[in-house]
Every structure is written in structure tokens, then in C-alpha cells.
């Protein structure tokens, strides 16, 4: 029978595991989104995704997804890293709950120079990232939809350094069509 110190250690481990990303996947709301196509994507992607197997770098979506946090000042914030030797953004998809300002804290963990070129109303923003530096870029994306960002150095974007900012939400209610609620594709 393990003594109190070991029990405490187990409890701490259990708590840490519960907060860990892998275990959080086992929630019902996540599991119900799995369908055969998604399962195949997850299962087969690693085999075609490794650098120099099917690709010279990595498939961009492998960076994963993250929800930006909305601060008290209304600005959405997220962190994005550039891992070593992969030519991807991690996460590759940043989700904003609604339109507004987004501040991305980008860290270049790679051993080569990169740039984050991010769309923004008014003009794109350029964040230069020498090796092992970190910087913040703030942009204005105030309407729903998908916006791409990428690294314009050499062909880094083509090799995988393409990312998406997804702005969720509906447009200004004053602009919406005056008509009954119409069926949407996901309803069918």
C-alpha cells in the first residue's frame, strides 16, 4: 500500500494529466465531432506528413489550432511558435471568437530567419523574427471569415508556413437580409 507521499504524487500527476491536451480530447463534446474522414486524417497524416517522406517540410495544418483569448481590453491574444526544421506555424489556425483586434506573440524556435506577414485592415503587418527571438504583431480583422498569414521568406509559405486566422461570428445585424431564417448547408 503506497504511503502518503506517493499518494500525493499520484494526485498531482492525475491533476496535471487532466489539464493536459491529450486527456482533454476525451471530452464528449470533442468525441462527437469525430467522423471516419477525420479519424483517417489523424491516423494517416503522420505517415504522409514527415519531412522528406511525402513533403520537403510539413503539411501546414499539422500546426494545429488554438483559440485566441479575449482580454479585458477587448483585444484577442494568442501565441504562435515556429518549431525547428518544420516550416510550419504552431498553431497554424488561430480562432477569434468575433471580429476585432488580434495580437499574436510569435516565437521563432527555429535556427533560420522568418517573417510573419499578417493581414490587417489598412495593410498587412510585417514582423521580422531573427533566430530565437520573439515579437508581437497586432492586426485588425473585424469581419467574419478566413484570413491567411504566412512567411514570405524564400518559399517558406509553400513549404508549409501558411496559417489561417479564423474570425467567427455574424455580420452587423443592421446589414443582414430582411428575410426569414434560411436553411444552411450544415442543416442538411
Amino acid at each position: 500500500m503506497p504511503g502518503p507521499p506517493a499518494l500525493a504524487a499520484c494526485a498531482i500527476v492525475a491533476l496535471a494529466l487532466a489539464g493536459c491536451d491529450y486527456v482533454r480530447l476525451l471530452r464528449p463534446s470533442v468525441l462527437k465531432q469525430l467522423n471516419p474522414d477525420v479519424v483517417r486524417l489523424v491516423n494517416e497524416l503522420p505517415a504522409v506528413d514527415d519531412a522528406n517522406e511525402a513533403l520537403v517540410a510539413r503539411l501546414f495544418a499539422h500546426g494545429g489550432l488554438s483559440w485566441a483569448d479575449r482580454g479585458r481590453d477587448g483585444v484577442y491574444r494568442d501565441q504562435v511558435r515556429i518549431p525547428r526544421n518544420q516550416y510550419i506555424w504552431k498553431p497554424a489556425i488561430v480562432v477569434m471568437g468575433a471580429g476585432g483586434e488580434l495580437e499574436i506573440d510569435v516565437a521563432n524556435d527555429d535556427e533560420v530567419f522568418h517573417i510573419a506577414l499578417v493581414p490587417s485592415n489598412g495593410g498587412r503587418q510585417v514582423l521580422e523574427l531573427p533566430v530565437r527571438t520573439r515579437g508581437k504583431v497586432r492586426v485588425r480583422l473585424d469581419q467574419p471569415g478566413l484570413y491567411w498569414f504566412g512567411c514570405p521568406v524564400a518559399n517558406h509559405a509553400g513549404r508549409g508556413m501558411l496559417g489561417i486566422v479564423m474570425v467567427k461570428g455574424e455580420v452587423d445585424p443592421a446589414a443582414r437580409l430582411d428575410r426569414p431564417k434560411m436553411p444552411r448547408p450544415e442543416d442538411r
Binding site: V13, T133, R134, G135, P144, E170, L177, P180, R188
Partner: protein, 600 residues
């Protein structure tokens, strides 16, 4: 420690160490934790150089423009004919004539015209596949400053004499905008110190004309519903008026007016009435067909300041080809609506193609001109007919075909329509094709010759109808139309508005899909899908000059004068809905360069 020393200590303290197995498991778990959970963000890294705007890294850009726009008002635009050296509004003047009184360049010397400068719009981005880009703009020129818009959210202020970029605004356009046909923009409006621009995701943006910074921004349509925007806004009195796009997505068309100073939304006029509203009797009762009725307003209107009437064209009903789901004439689709600019009331309308089954958008420009003491309106419709109306009340003066028409017979004096050919499930050959006998690129009226000049798309298509279920945001055509490539060509025609008869025609191997420009120098400028800009003699149609720009022309060239020198500006850049109007040119090179010509 020796084994004996360890055993004596254990006996003294009573403490025992965990067995090896437990210690190994704990270590393994700790290692797993370290690997499985995220590494901490490296806040210890040195900070990178600060982010800067992309255009801040363009040393060639001046950064600001002279203040030319604060002195432009709707009243000044109404008097645009008094300053022919400027191109103050989309059509050159509110009347939609696309006519310039400048004659420094004329039939006698145009053979010597050559490029003075070019402006390249820059790299094509990731918003859409290359096939859908086109440079469709009408440049505006105000006292030496050119205001130009491009695809992908771009607006520029350029020095109109040298081409130097003064400022650039770039709107962040979402990747997934539900464009029907092209990543395009037809131009801006300028006045009251501002430049007004409609983004593809239907944002009306008011920019400071000196710096290009946003003064205000308003949403005027819903991308989630399948709406978008390509229109050049129109400044009328103190209002900016914009039209919506998306009739191929089963939207409900509308016009919106915003206060130019503040962006306050002043009125919206739907082009398809709700049940019970005037015109609703032309839609089926107890049906939601009106809610997907189309009638979008994607081409800039013309305006008569004396009558205080806006003349705006409306597009096809939805779904394009399957009329069985919307029996009735389907007002006010495929019409000109004469609109009170103060509140959007429709004073009268004329419907070019009732109960459309052929995608014959009625959006084409309405050219306002006076002839023989009468206030008239000329409209070259996609359905193959030139309509001349009395613009005070919408009464028909005359309607005549201006090319091959097989879908119907239309009586010249009454406008009565007898439909002859409809789409079928198996496919029916019908002329004109879905691009129409004239696509959106604009015709012109010359005050010097009193002739109308029209770019013609001679093309027939096989039309098929198919029942389709509607889902918001998804394309909703109700069939398809495939142009018949083997029997198509293009023309620029000169038509006498008094009779509808053709005076002359200049023929080309491909449909003409660029706006024509008429000048007092006895010239008509036109552009071709294979990249040529040509100058034709306004009275005879003789070709006097041509220049190869390297990519097809699908835009609205303009002319202006700065420092005593006349220029002709031609945006060159093929693309858009080529499958509809020139499928044989689908693979032609895209482009994005503005050519500006002058005499040596």
C-alpha cells in the same frame, strides 16, 4: 554508504524508501508529462524588431496625397462637364455617358500615342484561384491625383502625371468571400475629403483622401448569406450609395445609402418586395421565392440632378435558369429603377426582361442624354436590345436589337415581348448567351457625333435547367449555360439613338468586354481580350491606333489632362467570369498593370 550502514539507519528512523517499481513509474510518468504537455513559451528570448506595416517598407511611396478631395462635392460632380480635364466620378459625369470633351488627342494625331507611364498593382495573393482575378477598375482623376482600386482589397492614390504611388490602402479581405465570378473591384468614389471604397466582403470604407487612413467603415451586406460587393460607390448629395452582389447565391438584392460624413446608415431599398409590398403580386403567393429573389445592384447607377432621380439597374432573379420556382414577372429584377436618392423610394421602373430564364442581368448602365429637346435614357441590355426611354417617366421610346437574338421577339414601339426559346433539361441553344449581347462593360454616348458606341459580345449558349435545393451561401443557379465557342466574336458598334440603326461596326475575333470611351477628338477607345487597346474613328469606325498591353482588357479606361497634357488610362488585366463571356480565352495570361498613354 554501505549496505550495513543503510540497514542501521532504516532501523533507527523507521523510514522506508519506495520500492524500485514505484520510483520507476513515477519517473516514467514525469517524463511522459514533460513530453506530452506543451513546452513553456520562451519569454526569455530577446525581442524581435517591432512589427511594421508592409507599405512602410516601400521607400518609393510618398505617403500622402495633396488635398484635392475636400473641394469635391456632389454639386461639383454635377458640373463635371465644366472640368473635362478631370474624371470626377465613375462614368466621368453623373450622366453615364463616358464622354470626354478633351481633344488634344484626336483622330489626326492618335497614331502617335504611346505609353507615358505604367503602374503595376503587385502580386496576386491567396484569396482566390488565379482564374478569378481581373483588373476591372475605372480610375478617377481629381486635379492631378488619380484614385484607383484593384482586386484583393487595394486602393491607391497615384500622381496622375508620373504614376508615383502616393498612398496605398489594403483591406483585409477574407479568403472565403462568396464571390460569384471574380475577385474584382470597379472603382471608388471621391468627395468631401474622402475616398469611398466597397470591399469584396461588403464593407463600405471611407478613407481620408490625403493619407489613405480609415475614417469610418460600415457593413452593407452579409457574406454569410452569400452576399459580396464589387461595385464602385456613388456620391450623391451627402450620401454614398452602394449596391450588393450575390444573385447567383439566392440573396435578396438591395441598395444602401450612408451619410458620407459619418457613415450613418440612412436608407436601404430592397429590389425584391416582401409579400404585400408593391410588386409582390409578381411573385408566387405563399412562397419564399421572394426571399431568394436576386435582383442585385452591382453596377453603379447614373443620376439626373435636375430631376433628382437615380437610375440604377437590377440583376437577375434567383435561381437564374429555373423560373418554375418563381412564376410571375419577378419585379424588380432585370429592371431600371428610378430611385429618389433621399429615401430610396422607387418612383418608376422599366423591366427589360420579365421572368428571366437566361441570366440576363438588367444591371447595365443607363446613359442619360438629351436629344431633340427630349430627356432620354439609353440602355444596352444583356438581352440583346437597345432600349431608349423617356427618363422623366420611364415610358418606352423605342427598343431595337443590336445583334443576334433568338430568345424572344420584342416589338419596337411597344416593347411587348414574345418568348420563343427557354432552357430545357436536355439543353437548348439560345442567343445571346448568359454573358448577354453586352456584358457589364460600358457603352458611351458622344455629344460630338450624337452616336452611341457599344462593346458587343456575340455569343450563343446551350442553356439547361435543373431543379436545385437552396442552402444559404451556396451557389443557386438552377441549371447552367455553356457558351458555344465555335460561333462567337466581338464588335464595337456605333448606333444612332434616334433610330436604333447601326452606323458602323468594328469587328474583332473575340467578344469585346471592356468599356468604350468616346472623346471630342473624334475617337472611340476600346480594349480587347487579347490585350490590345485600340482607337477607332468615331464617325467611320476606322482603326487608327493599337497597342498591345500583354493581358486582356476588362475595365473602364478614362481620359484626363494634367499640366496641359492629355492622358488615356487603361487598366489591363484579364480574368473574371471568362467562362461566361470568352471561354476560349480562359487560359490567357492574367495581368494587373495600368497603362497610361499620351502623345510624345
Amino acid at each position: 554508504m554501505t549496505i550495513e550502514q543503510r540497514a542501521r539507519r532504516r532501523a533507527r528512523t523507521g523510514k522506508t524508501r519506495a520500492p524500485v517499481s514505484t520510483r520507476l513509474s513515477a519517473t516514467a510518468v514525469a517524463l511522459l508529462l514533460a513530453l506530452a504537455c506543451s513546452k513553456p513559451f520562451p519569454t526569455h528570448y530577446p525581442v524581435s524588431p517591432p512589427a511594421v506595416s508592409f507599405k512602410a517598407l516601400d521607400a518609393s511611396m510618398a505617403g500622402s496625397a495633396p488635398d484635392v478631395a475636400s473641394r469635391v462635392t456632389s454639386q461639383r460632380i454635377a458640373g463635371a462637364r465644366e472640368e473635362p480635364h478631370n474624371w470626377l466620378t465613375y462614368y466621368g459625369a453623373y450622366d453615364g455617358q463616358r464622354y470626354s470633351a478633351l481633344d488634344q488627342i484626336n483622330a489626326g494625331n492618335v497614331a502617335g500615342l504611346r505609353p507615358a507611364w505604367s503602374f503595376q498593382a503587385g502580386v496576386i495573393g491567396v484569396i482566390a484561384a488565379p482564374a478569378t482575378y481581373a483588373f476591372e477598375a475605372a480610375p478617377l482623376v481629381v486635379d492631378g491625383v488619380m484614385f484607383l482600386s484593384g482586386y484583393d482589397g487595394y486602393v491607391w492614390a497615384l500622381d496622375a502625371a508620373t504614376g508615383r504611388m502616393l498612398w496605398q490602402y489594403r483591406h483585409a479581405v477574407p479568403l472565403d468571400v462568396p464571390l460569384c465570378c471574380g475577385n474584382v473591384n470597379r472603382g471608388v468614389a471621391v468627395g468631401l475629403g474622402k475616398v469611398f471604397y466597397a470591399s469584396p466582403n461588403a464593407q463600405l470604407v471611407a478613407l481620408d483622401a490625403i493619407t489613405g487612413r480609415v475614417m469610418w467603415q460600415k457593413t452593407f451586406a452579409d457574406v454569410r448569406a452569400g452576399e459580396s460587393a464589387t461595385v464602385a460607390p456613388l456620391l450623391v448629395k451627402n450620401l454614398v450609395i452602394v449596391g450588393s452582389s450575390g444573385a447567383e447565391y439566392g440573396v435578396r438584392g438591395h441598395l444602401d445609402a450612408f451619410d458620407a460624413g459619418t457613415g450613418r446608415h440612412v436608407w436601404r431599398r430592397y429590389t425584391v418586395p416582401r409579400p404585400g409590398e408593391p410588386g409582390s403580386e409578381t411573385w408566387p403567393a405563399n412562397s419564399l421565392a421572394w426571399a431568394t429573389g436576386g435582383g442585385t445592384t452591382w453596377i453603379t447607377g447614373s443620376y439626373d440632378p435636375e430631376l433628382d432621380l437615380l437610375y440604377w439597374g437590377t440583376g437577375n432573379p434567383g435561381p437564374d435558369f429555373d423560373g418554375a420556382v418563381r412564376p410571375g414577372n419577378n419585379l424588380y429584377t432585370n429592371s431600371v429603377i428610378a430611385v429618389d436618392p433621399d429615401d430610396g423610394t422607387i418612383r418608376w421602373h422599366y423591366q427589360w426582361t420579365p421572368h428571366d430564364l437566361w441570366d440576363y442581368d438588367g444591371v447595365n448602365e443607363n446613359i442619360l442624354f438629351d436629344l431633340d429637346g427630349r430627356k432620354l435614357l439609353a440602355h444596352f441590355d444583356k438581352n440583346g436590345h437597345l432600349f431608349v426611354l423617356d427618363r422623366t417617366n420611364g415610358r418606352l421610346v423605342r427598343v431595337t436589337p443590336f445583334g443576334r437574338v433568338t430568345w424572344a421577339d420584342v416589338t419596337e414601339s411597344t416593347g411587348a415581348i414574345t418568348v420563343k426559346l427557354r432552357p430545357t433539361p436536355a439543353g437548348q441553344r439560345i442567343c445571346p448567351g448568359p454573358a448577354g449581347l453586352k456584358e457589364w462593360p460600358h457603352a458611351a454616348f458622344s455629344r460630338a457625333t450624337e452616336l452611341l458606341y457599344v462593346p458587343v459580345v456575340e455569343q450563343c449558349a446551350t442553356f439547361k435547367v435543373m431543379r436545385q435545393e437552396f442552402s444559404e451561401g451556396m451557389a443557386y443557379w438552377g441549371g447552367e449555360a455553356s457558351p458555344i465557342r465555335t460561333e462567337q466574336w466581338g464588335e464595337v458598334k456605333a448606333i444612332d439613338p434616334r433610330t436604333g440603326q447601326q452606323r458602323w461596326s468594328w469587328r474583332f475575333a473575340h467578344p469585346i468586354v471592356a468599356s468604350v470611351l468616346a472623346t471630342a477628338g473624334d475617337l472611340v477607345f476600346a480594349g480587347t481580350p487579347t490585350g490590345e487597346v485600340v482607337a477607332l474613328h468615331a464617325r467611320t469606325g476606322a482603326e487608327l491606333w493599337r497597342y498591345q498591353t500583354g493581358s486582356g482588357i476588362h475595365s473602364s479606361p478614362v481620359t484626363y489632362r494634367v499640366n496641359g497634357k492629355q492622358y488615356v488610362a487603361v487598366p489591363s488585366g484579364w480574368g473574371g467570369w471568362m467562362k461566361g463571356f470568352a471561354p476560349e480565352m480562359y487560359g490567357a495570361n492574367r495581368g494587373n498593370t495600368l497603362f497610361v498613354f499620351a502623345l510624345p
